[in-house]
Amino acid sequence: MLGLGADLLWADMNRLLAFLFHQGVLDEQFLQLQQLQDETSPNFVSEVVNIYFHESEKLLTNLRALLMEREFSDYKKMGIHLNQFMGSSSSIGAKRVRNVCVAFRAATQQNNRAGCLRALEMLEHEYCYLKNKLHELFQIEQQRALAAGVRYPAQN
């Protein structure tokens, strides 16, 4: 049936979103982001999220490089990276990533290198999970848009 593919994909999308909200991976800020998407910018959410991925990976690389330095002591610089990560994560609704950044920042404020290392691993894990799930969401969205855009000739 014509609309069934698009409807099923729509249900899949909503199920995945509900799951991500329930797990605390995303919060209502993600919904606010979706509300900014319209016909004039139909890819707004994926554009913003892709910039977020690009910037986040740079931040994670910088954080790991700092912590791996033999004579590491620049907790202040680490705090600056974390502030940026926190800000961008909260702005796209990436709640769990943001929360790990808060714990990570607390470890930097205590000059706790071991704590920072643990927090970094957790952050990398949460970020990876978020990225995979959002990619999955965007893929379903693309498939739905394709399915909804298919036209068949009328049957007489």
Binding site: Q29, L36, V48, I51, E55, G87
Partner: protein, 130 residues
Amino acid sequence: MIVMANNKISALIVDDDSIIRKIHKTMLERLFNIEAETVKDGKEAVELCRSGANFDIIFMDREMPIMDGAEATKQLRAMGVKSTIVGITTRAGGEDREEFLAAGSNHCFEKPLDRAKVEVVLREHKKFTI
């Protein structure tokens, strides 16, 4: 319901994060019909205002390189800038808020800036009526 009175509101978004500048600009324009310019640190904001640009509202990030939000707010007030200044910080605790308010900002919110927070600011603005 908030209704816009005579003129369009103008805003300046000051944040070193390109993602946040994009989201905030789009939110202000799409949800509130507010024209928004963006700059990436406090020094640029100060120089823009010094050059004669006027904004009804300035959304000012706290943590920025070159010049942070509290310092930029202080300098803007010292220049006589009367815009509503809204400080935005990643810290929930009172220290940043106190610093922003002491520097002369009208509000200070924790990130993210969302619809409800913008409405709080607009309710106090003379260009809006309820």
